[in-house]
Assembly symmetry: D2
Homo-oligomer: 338 residues x 4
């Protein structure tokens, strides 16, 4: 932590701050420059982070030096985490994982139809929402537990691992009893009670980046889950809100190498929500793999015209299949498999 | 709803869309221009909103015409809602409401000290967090139910209505049993399950705008609460995320007149979180009143240096008192009282 | 300047940096913490700013401490600058300046009509564009020099100072020969050659904030003008680009007190461009005055339906007049006049 | 153009608008819905775009239907433009172009050294700034004409085409006489006079996207150049401003396929300015190629520690060479060459 003093800070004010820092068990280093005095503070920053040093008289600015997260950082663990998901699927290893399926689970036969084709194309995880976060209270809100039962049955039948979103602390146990991966949606990235709750399970969690959050904020949210005892976290870049209006969100492709530098957690990409248009899913998927992503989560629907949610961004199964063929070749040039 | 077709759309494609629209019970109006054909759709848009018209062959763009909210709109109710809060406090009437108090409830004596001064200065609602949304799992998370008990006791003693945040669907009933106003925090503006849950109570709700949300998105979230049966909603502008880094957030002062044009709900302003610096609270409070806000919620702490949360943006009680004096005069020039 | 080293930085790397810093004539202060070593650098930061310390082996991050601007800062000059504009108008003193007029100068009679009413209402500066920055090459681009001649004639006739935009380094001399204040438009805030060119004149300059720029970046652009020798700079907050779409831009009202803390230059507000809707001009104007702005620049047109540019945000002269009446009262509560 | 009326619009108001539209030579189509009346306007939108329909009594909203650009659109020209640059280089064809070189031209020997290695690695265009847009007036502003002379000499010697930025309308002719491609920098994307001026030359122009501009705004700026008579425009995505702070800008990789859908102009990517960190240049370059970019412009410097500008984001020549080797393989999987 570095404390920059105002040019007119008095000796009394400097001493008041030094006293405070020392009382907290930390060591202050004072450097007097020609224009500003600076106090460097050595020791664990967490203690200082909760102290409002900015209000101390004479203080101009406080600059943290250390990252506020620990357990998720590369410094804490050098090797990339490989998350074992179930049904033999691992995320973070040499093999790139492809998750596919509809935005919302609609009924047994539609999901079966899609699952069959996801499997045939080479996908290993089946996605499908049972609880849907919708901006309008009048939109379809998902099938709830009935949807989870359908998802489990279909996943088991085709040997696909499953992933579905949990939105409510009260539902965590239930959802965890049906699916292989708990999804935390973008709008819940900073729903701290929900993060704590999934941190208490051992179920793998896929944490989606909030649409206006930084990579570091996503890592802080992951820290909540790890600090609860659950280290099985997969990060997911799904686009951020920008001024660009020709896509639903802006895929921040740099987030992939940035997250890999800062953290040992694997990171996958959701090109469907990022683009909001199925025609952009293929180029963005290729970009994700070329950038080092550990997987993709893609919306697939056999009848997008009739989809109850997000039809506009769903790939037809045949397009999903030909995309994976392309990606297999690309993955090899990156020294990986699909 | 307006459907803009691609320049190369075929007659077959146009007819396919007309069929679909007609089957949904809506009336299509086709206009053939020199460069584009446009289909205007007359009837309730909600039906179309869930249909992914963008994926229909030949469609270039779909433009909604009607607002997606109903109950919160000025068209639904012409007169501004006046929310009765308890302890004789009303929000939305001629009298501008001033809420004051610490970010977090720390203990009984500190809150008593602050409450006494908030009351003396002319504040009528006491704020204080018992459940705190913190970006770090290692920060102080609030006193929980114990904090609510302190808040209730102090509020009763000084005749101040009370407001505190609820973050978890499981806590709604408990928090509602202690406070006069349930606060939905900015990060939970789109926590739809929480919105539904507070919609089932009759307790007034103050809904804070999400840091990257539009006014219309805030109104959609309010719609969730009203559609659950609870019409006692107070909107709160608290600053949005922008590139400006000299303030914690950017107070969107235009949100006040914009919300008042679109909706009958009252709107108040939180200058403390918007600015993040106590030195900016006074000018922003004046701007809010000058713009037509129905109230202010301001952080007040008697010892900001020792505050467990957000000390840097807390006013000292004496500064709070002199600010209110200024605002009383300003309110009169606006034809209102404090 | 503070240099934060990586946790694995070697002694050799630390010494390499210390050498470099010392050779540049600066003094390094090394603090070894438990997790990171930090080097504080004492002396003028400008020298270091151009040195890419981030690429030195072992460096994690470089944090500047001092503001990159000098001449515009409050530290350089304690008293607020009062800019003498001509025709007896001053900006930055006790009197709040109101500038009014059409977006574009259309012809002599329309401008005369508007000027007469601006004057009658209490405005002291006449605005009008002769060179118009338009996003489309097919839109009306302004009358050019003919417009400037009209503006000068009308301004002289009614005793109003004049302001008009200059967009091209080649036009600076010409525009300066016709108007009292040179306007640098928002899109040209970082057109550094243009800034240098107006810095060589003595003509007052109104510098509009770029739609995605921070206050500090605006101050850096002002520094260009002052460093060229022209200290007559008026800042102008005109709204920034955000996700909010119910206004054209988001008026950053906090920019007024922030700029006043950081700089001695006066700052005025343009509510017309910020809102993009005439119905919001009155509340935003009140907010600006309540926040401490030194003036307003407002679009006024006697026939907005026929305006060649920005009709939607122009006030009718009668609304402009009644707004000023309101503002006169408000200004008095702020200890100022109009 | 679609005009949405307010729910309370009178027949008189509707007729007033219909009159106006008809007088402008356009055809109004009125659709009366249950909640809103809508007027579709058939005919060239440009006429209406400059008419402030929003101020007509009874109007709620005006929605443009057609894109405001013409000459740059795919509708205007189906085949992708291939821009002939000189020295045998073409942009937009099967061969992906790699441009490399320092941010700023420093002296003859350094540029020679870099050019030799750019050439050896497979680059075909040499970049180097002679006029530098710097946020601080105290930073190195470039060598000016002397820099252009060095660039020309070195480019000729190594058979490399050259590119350099022009910032001032007065310099266009001079810069065009030395370089093969005129660069319009990101901050000048909406410097309309500069766009007009380069539109009058026949020299190829590389237009960089403004940091807060949309793809459509970039196309509007390109329209300025084409409408002046110069069709040799290359678009360049170089990252946009977002809240993410671990990169200098956020590379909007989706801009590549989006621009290719909307326009026939080729588009290249600048990973160096997007990332601001040399360690991210390789993954972002791969992502760009995988997404369909027609080329890359990369900062290369043999001694980044001593670079006078942007050293932190410059690749060492050996890293540039090994990156190109990787990209050659990737390009083949995309059916292209380097």
């Amino acid at each position: 932590m570095i404390i920059v003093l105002r040019p007119d800070a008095t000796n009394e004010q400097v001493n008041h701050i030094i006293d405070k820092v020392t009382k907290l068990g930390l060591t202050p280093h004072v450097s007097k420059g020609t224009e500003r005095t600076i106090i460097g503070v050595i020791g664990p920053e967490d203690i200082l982070r909760v102290t409002p040093l900015e209000v101390y008289p004479g203080v101009e600015r406080v600059i943290p030096v250390l990252a506020p997260y620990r357990l998720v950082s590369r410094e804490f663990q050098k090797e990339t985490s490989v998350i074992k998901v179930g049904k033999g699927v691992e995320v973070g290893g040499k093999k790139i994982v492809v998750m596919g399926g509809p935005c919302a689970i609609e009924n047994f036969s539609t999901l079966t139809d899609i699952a069959m084709q996801v499997k045939a194309a080479g996908g290993t995880v089946l996605r499908g929402g049972a609880f849907k976060p919708r901006t309008s209270p009048y939109s379809f809100q998902g099938l709830g537990v009935e949807g989870l039962q359908i998802l489990k049955k279909v996943g088991d039948e085709y040997g696909l691992a499953t992933i579905s979103e949990v939105m409510d602390t009260r539902d965590v146990e239930t959802v965890a009893s049906y699916v292989d991966i708990l999804q935390i949606g973008a709008r819940n990235m900073q729903n701290f009670n929900l993060l704590k709750e999934v941190g208490l399970t051992k179920r793998p969690v896929m944490l989606k980046r909030g649409p206006s959050s930084t990579v570091k904020e996503m890592l802080m949210s992951a820290e909540y889950i790890l600090s609860g005892g659950n280290f099985n976290v997969i990060l997911c870049e799904r686009g951020i809100r920008t001024f660009e209006d020709s896509t639903r969100n802006t895929l921040d492709i740099s987030a992939v190498p940035v997250a890999k530098q800062l953290s040992h957690l694997p990171i996958i990409v959701d090109p469907s929500h990022a683009a909001g248009k199925w025609g952009l899913v293929a180029p963005l998927s290729r970009a994700a793999i070329a950038c080092g992503a550990d997987g993709l989560i893609i919306e697939v629907h056999s009848h997008p015209e009739d989809a109850l949610s997000d039809g506009a961004q769903s790939l037809l199964p045949e397009n999903f299949a030909s995309l994976i063929k392309e990606l297999v070749i690309l993955a090899r040039t990156m020294g990986r498999d699909i």
